[in-house]
Assembly symmetry: C2
Homo-oligomer: 225 residues x 2
Amino acid sequence: MALSDYPQPSVTADVIIFTMHEQDLHALLIQRKRPPFEGMWAIPGGFVDIDESLEEAAERELEEETGVRDVYLEQLYTFGEVNRDPRGRVITVAYFALVPADVVEPQAGDDATDARWWPVYDLPPLAFDHHDILGYALQRLRYKLEYTAVGFELMPEAFSLSELQAVYEGILAEELDKRNFRRKILNADVIEETGEYRTGEGRPAKLYRFRDDAVAEINARRLFP
Amino acid sequence: MALSDYPQPSVTADVIIFTMHEQDLHALLIQRKRPPFEGMWAIPGGFVDIDESLEEAAERELEEETGVRDVYLEQLYTFGEVNRDPRGRVITVAYFALVPADVVEPQAGDDATDARWWPVYDLPPLAFDHHDILGYALQRLRYKLEYTAVGFELMPEAFSLSELQAVYEGILAEELDKRNFRRKILNADVIEETGEYRTGEGRPAKLYRFRDDAVAEINARRLFP
DNA sequence: ACAAAAGTGTTGAGAGTACACCCATGC
DNA sequence: GCATGGGTGTACTCTCAACACTTTTGT
């Protein structure tokens, strides 16, 4: 029995691309040029080519929209409800990516009239089931933030501790104690001083960078046992 | 442009089915009846029907091999390397399932000459990339065990605390302190006494059951912040 | 000198970990 | 009565969470 005797759905790779902008978490969305959902905003994505892996497809989509390579990229979930796309059976493998703050200007691809960053707490209506997918990505990001060092992937090369704290507060949607935050980050030994200072209003702030060699350990307190 | 103008890979759903047997973690494997990898052991799975969702496909596979429904089932990961199947481009959405100890006798489906439980620390060679997939499933299971109550899904209806501890030790591959284990489980308020006792050698053991209403909270100690 | 943001320590409570002996039953 | 597995409590350590003032700069 040949493979083609089985029904073959279409497979797409969608990439939720997060960044920080003005201390708020943003996601990159494109405005669809063609039906269905013409003119609506959507998560960037496209069909998986027959000779590229899923991850390669995701990397390609990411580069088309942002021009960046080699950023944090992780498979999120595969969405395969029967009627999620009115054109037919389309299964999408969703990825999420984290790009450093303020380095990317979105580029609209062939299939889009526009592409821009949207703050995740103030999104437009989205095409397909993309609202659910984005919500799931946000949940996963927040969750990973709590037990890995993934938050640093969203920071620029150099940053102050206050800026880092503001990012964490924005994503977690809660306020954190400054002294506890600083102690915990510094004790974790994952950042180092750059020697530079950020000047502005008030006392200048020491700048830090993420240490490449610092592999942040998962350190969860077990529920059981 | 129609959907069918894009190349369409085949999509399968594979299900790693775990259970406990004689206090060791086991996975259900089938022996393939047809090429490729004829006669080799493999994770059960099959093509996703055009009018069923991914989860429905996984549930169907699970029921074909075990006869059970309504057990714990979770999407694991989607594997889509280009050459993972010699027949052509096949993307597999992997799920994993947990079935209670000693309730299932495997049933070989149409595509298998045999189906049986294998202890996960002593597996035969596996077809395709199934060794990687199973390893990934095991890692995820071990990980979830540490911060959710998912371990109970592997237990029979009634169990003693020593049996439960042995299951945890088997999966985590480490020894646990009896007094600490018992205190933590009992304080978590997720099991209740059945009133029955298990008799055998030595002092009879109180039996417990999992409380349906107990939603085990995730309670991780954050790494940051 | 004052406004603005950076930086800094201590204490109390709760959870985790290590550790050794008595209890109930079957043979 | 003894072998077998079930069941129990305490002390120490470590991490978390709460909390307020001083320092450095620009204007």
